[in-house]
Amino acid sequence: MKVISLSTEQAPLISIPLRFFITAPLFLLLAGIILVSGTGNPFASIHTPALLAATHCITLGFMSMIMLGATHQILPVVVGRPMPISWLTAWLTFIPLALGALLLSAGLMLSKPVWLNLAWPLLGLAFITFISASLMSLAQAPARNHTKTAILLSILALAGTIALGMLLAHGHANGFLLPYAKLATAHIGLSLGGWIMLLIVGVSYQVVPMFQITPNYPEWLGIFLAPALFIVLLLSLLPLMPNSEQHRVTIFAQTLFWFLASSFAVTTLILQSKRRRRVADATLSFFRLGMVSLICAAMFGLAPLFFPDIDHLAMLSAVLFLLGFAMSLMHGMLYKIVPFLVWFHLFRCGVKISVPNMKEIIAEKWMWRHLWLHCSTLIAAIFSLWWDMAVWLVSLGLLLQSIILGYSLVTAILLYKHILKRIEVI
C-alpha cells in the first residue's frame, strides 16, 4: 500500500480547453472546402496540394487543436499536475497553432513560400511551448500510471514530428536539396503512429474504463504497449541514417506497429463488450467505429507487403487511420469530456440544485446524427480513391460535421454561461 500526497488547485479554467475545442470544427470546415478547390481528384496522390493542405488542416487545425486542449485538462486530472502558468501556456500555444495551421494549409494549397516561411516558426513556437510545459508537468506529477508513460512518449514523438515538419516546410519554401521522401515518411510515421496513436492509447486507458464502465485494460498491455510502439517508431527512423539500406528493418517495424495497433483495438473492443451498463451510447459507437477502422487500417497497411501490385492500399490505410480511427475517437472523446467539464465547473460553484445532468448538456440525438454523418463521410472518402465525384461527398460530409460539432459545443458553452449567470444572481 502506498500513501499519496498531492498538490491542489489542479483544474485549469474551463475557458482553456474550450478555446481549443470550439476552434477545431472551423478547420474541419476549411478542410472540406480545400478538398474541392483543387484540380482533379486530391486523393489521386499523397502529394497533391489539395490533399496536403486538407490533411494539415485536419491533423494540425482539428486534431492537434483538440489534443492540446485536452492535454491541458487531462494532465491535472490523470497525473495530478497542471501545465505551469496554464493561462499563458494556453495562449502561447493556441494563437500560433491557429495562425500556423492556417498559413501552412494555405501555403501548401497555393504554393506560397512566404506563407510557409511564416507558418513553420509559428508552429514551432506553439509546439515547443506545449512540449516544454507538458514535460515540466509530467516531471513534477505525483501519479505513476501507464497513461503518464504513454503521454510522455507521445510528446517525445511530437517533438520529432515537429522538428521534421519544420525542416520540410523550411526546405520546401526555400528550395533546399533534402531527402524529402525519407523525411516525409518519418514525419508521417511519428505524427500518426507516435503523437496521435500514443496519446489516444494513454487517454483510452482512463476514458474507456471510466466513462464506458468496462474492466481496466490488462496490466501487461499497459506496461508494454506504449513503450513497444515507441521503440518500433524509433526502428522505423533507421532509413534516415546516411547511406542506409534498411528495407528489411522498415518492413519489420511496419509489421510490428500494425500488430501492436491491432492488439490495442481488439483489446478495447473486448473490454467494451464486457461493459457493465449495456445501454446504447453514441460516444461508445464512435469508439467502436474507431477501433474497427484501426484494424482495417492495419490490414490495408500490411497488404502492400504481400500484394505490391494493387494500387491505393497504402492510401486506403491512411484514410482509415486518420478519418476512421483518429477522428472518430476525437469526436467520441469530445462528446464525453465537454459535458463533464461543464458539469464539473458548475458543480464547483457550489449551487448543486441548478446543475443539469451530464446527459442534458449536449443532446444525444445530435451525437447520433454526427455519428451517421461521420460514417458516411468515411465511406465516401474510401470510394473517392477510385471515384472522383465522391470527393464532393467527403467535402460535404466534413462541412456538415463541422456544423454539428460546432453547434453541439456552442450549445454546451451557452448552457454553462446561462447557469453560471443564474448562480451569480443567487
Binding site: M1, L6, R277
Partner: protein
C-alpha cells in the same frame, strides 16, 4: 467506542460524475469528528480541490488490487 464516527461509501464501478456526487452528498451529512472511508476505482484528482475548498482533509491510499481508499474528515 468510535464506530459511529466511521462512515463508509463504495463508489467503485460508477460512471462519472456519480462517484463525485455521492461523495459530496455523503459529506454534507458527515458529523464533526467523523471519518468517511471512500472505496473508489480510480484516483479522483479533481475531488481534492473541492475537499480543500470545503474545509476537509484527506488521505489517499493505493490498494494492491488497483483500487483506492480515501479517508476524509473535517479539518480540525
Amino acid at each position: 467506542m468510535f464506530s459511529n464516527l466511521m462512515h463508509e461509501l463504495d463508489v467503485r464501478g460508477l460512471p462519472p460524475p456519480e462517484p463525485f456526487e455521492n461523495i459530496i452528498k455523503t459529506l454534507t451529512t458527515l458529523p464533526a469528528g467523523a471519518v468517511l472511508k471512500v472505496h473508489i476505482h480510480r484516483e479522483p484528482f479533481p475531488l481534492y480541490e473541492i475537499l480543500l475548498d470545503g474545509g476537509y482533509t484527506w488521505q489517499t491510499t493505493r490498494l494492491k488490487d488497483g483500487n483506492f481508499l480515501i479517508r476524509i474528515s473535517h479539518t480540525p
